[in-house]
């Protein structure tokens, strides 16, 4: 079981995840790849083998009004192949998560076409790096637009229309407001793509439609044989949200929302979840059928949260710590 984190390494704040300069300064994918090479060096030293890359790696590459940025992936073929070789040497599981603006089931053809371009660029980067099939591009079903059923069907059609190379990298994630696990499974079955189970989203949407462990197992079963599934894990933020009101006013505190991620992972909730999964597997089937899966941590403290969770597992659930890959930090 690998643990991963998202984009920005907080233990090394000086490391950039991508070329974030504005279009006026001609940012480029090869500059992002140089930054990514530096991040990979950190991942190696920290013993982290799962990482979600920034979806802005190729700046403005899918911007409809900036054709000058469109060919970055092709222009960077040599550098992508080189860095991909490094990633494979390090045993890295890499992925992307499309941004919220990527709405593949939009009834507006321009929005849907832009979403398809976004996904195609991300998949092409993974292809250019020569990454295996467990390196995926995650997206959501999209909006409901007054008819969830029509929206789901539109999502299936949009996925069907993607280039095969893009479709083969795509996975659908259950969301926290509109489409739960049942919906994601419905789309995935028809589109022939896997589902990444997001545990916090499940607790917020669709929990009354399917049992948690059943949902986990159903999602894991959507992944092709030989490709290790992954899930997303986070725990909700419970602290006040404190907003600065300027120098002359007291900060304003307001209640959090459960969809916000906590800084660190609640280790006890994490342990209970994995133990319940293993227990259910043992009780239901002989031999057990729960496949090994990786876990992307969506915590605000990112790699610091990952490191803390490793320590917590070693202390509070050694049998789970024994399943971690790599087994020891170099």
């Amino acid at each position: 079981m690998r643990l991963g984190f998202v984009v920005k390494p907080l233990a090394r704040p000086e490391l950039k995840s991508h070329d974030s300069r504005r279009w006026q300064n001609s940012p480029h994918l090869t500059v992002s790849l140089a930054y990514l090479r530096d991040v990979f060096g950190y991942l190696k030293s920290a013993g982290i083998t799962m990482y979600r890359m920034s979806s802005d790696l190729a700046p403005y590459a899918s911007h409809p009004d900036m054709p000058q940025f469109r060919n970055q992936v092709e222009e960077s073929a040599t550098e992508l192949a080189e860095l991909g070789g490094t990633a494979r040497e390090l045993g890295l599981r890499l992925s992307f998560h499309a941004v919220a603006a990527t709405v593949i089931n939009s009834p507006d053809p321009r929005v849907a076409a832009n979403a398809a371009t976004d996904l195609t660029v991300l998949a092409a980067i993974l292809d250019g790096m020569g990454m295996g099939p467990e390196s995926v591009v995650v997206t959501h079903i999209g909006g409901t637009y007054g008819s969830p059923q029509a929206a789901r069907e539109r999502c299936v059609h949009a996925i069907d229309a993607l280039p095969p190379a893009t479709r083969s990298r795509l996975v659908i994630e259950n969301d926290d407001v509109r489409f739960g696990v049942r919906d994601a499974l419905w789309v995935a079955e028809r589109a022939g793509i896997p589902v990444v189970f997001d545990r916090l989203h499940y607790r917020l949407k669709g929990w009354d439609e399917i049992d948690e462990q059943e949902a986990l197992h159903a999602c894991l079963r959507t992944w092709p044989a030989g490709v290790r599934p992954k899930i997303h894990w986070s725990t909700p933020r419970t602290e006040w949200l404190v907003e600065d009101q300027g120098a002359d006013a007291a900060p304003k505190a307001r209640q959090t929302r459960w969809m916000y991620h906590s800084d660190y992972v609640n280790p006890f909730e994490f342990v209970d979840f994995l133990r319940a999964a293993a227990r259910r597997d043992r009780s239901d089937r002989n031999p057990p059928t729960l496949p090994p899966f990786d876990i992307m941590l969506e915590a605000r403290a990112k790699d610091l949260a990952l490191a803390q969770l490793r320590r917590d597992l070693a202390r509070y659930a050694p049998e789970l710590a024994d399943q971690l890959e790599p087994a020891a930090i170099p």
Partner: protein, 247 residues
């Protein structure tokens, strides 16, 4: 419209690279690129800006200083043969290089000299530091612990005897976090941090034995998690100077 380098955020990452050959400065100015051999590339190469440190190969008025900065436009992997076709028979013609594509070179408002006329490889810094540095040692952006020790060294008035990130040997990539000089005496100070804890330092010690011994260094490893580590480090640095036969 492209912004000048000086309009960019102060924390924009910058890489200071070495110019050992005036031809490389001409290539940077006329053709817009700088080369880094893949085999000897630093651990971190990503940067929004590239600045150039000129060595003894340049006229006296230009050498041992950082004078130029340019925006980075891209990193290309290529061979020396493709970079410099007129030297196609060079023994390293087939070696792989990063070609760092850069925009126009801009002169720094205030060149950054090296007081000790020292050799460097690469320096990770920021645009803000390039614009504010008075001496090359001001360029290093390091962990908070090392920054705190450098500030303490400055406050103690010891900067004339201390260098940061100093190579233990001319041909060795291993560097002391701080190097203290007095006459013929040399002290290498290594500071543990989050990325390299004290155990890591001690493990590295085995690899450092040879360059330390050959370069005539004494070594001190300090742990910022211990109370009084800054004072202890300064004491070790002062002791070197007190014990020096030249003092």
């Amino acid at each position: 419209m492209t912004e000048t380098p000086f309009d960019a955020p102060a924390d924009a990452p910058a890489l200071v690279a070495v110019l050992n050959d005036p031809d490389d400065l001409l290539r940077a100015q006329r053709e817009g690129w700088y080369r880094i051999p893949l085999l000897h590339a630093p651990r971190r190469i990503g940067a929004d800006f590239l600045a150039l440190y000129q060595t003894a190969a340049f006229p006296p008025a230009e050498r041992w200083a950082v004078r130029w900065v340019a925006a980075v436009r891209g990193y290309r992997l290529t061979t020396r043969r493709e970079l410099i076709p007129e030297q196609a028979d060079h023994p390293r013609a087939g070696d792989r290089y990063y070609r760092v594509d850069i925009g126009a070179l801009w002169p720094l408002p205030r060149p950054i000299p090296s007081r000790r006329l020292r050799r460097i490889t690469f320096i990770r810094t920021t645009l803000g530091r390039l614009l504010e540095a008075e001496e090359i040692n001001d360029l290093w952006v390091q962990t908070t612990a090392r920054e705190r020790l450098w500030e303490a060294i400055q406050q103690a008035g010891m900067t004339d005897a201390v260098e940061r990130e100093y190579p233990l040997l001319d041909d060795s990539p291993q560097a002391a976090d701080f190097a203290v000089f007095d006459g013929g005496e040399r002290l290498a100070v290594f500071v543990a941090d989050a990325a390299r804890d004290l155990d890591g330092c001690v493990r590295e010690r085995a690899a450092l034995d040879y360059p330390l011994a050959r370069g005539g260094w004494r070594a001190v490893f300090v742990d910022p998690s211990e109370a009084g580590w800054i004072e202890g480090s300064l004491r070790a640095m002062r002791a070197l100077r007190l014990n020096s036969p030249n003092t």
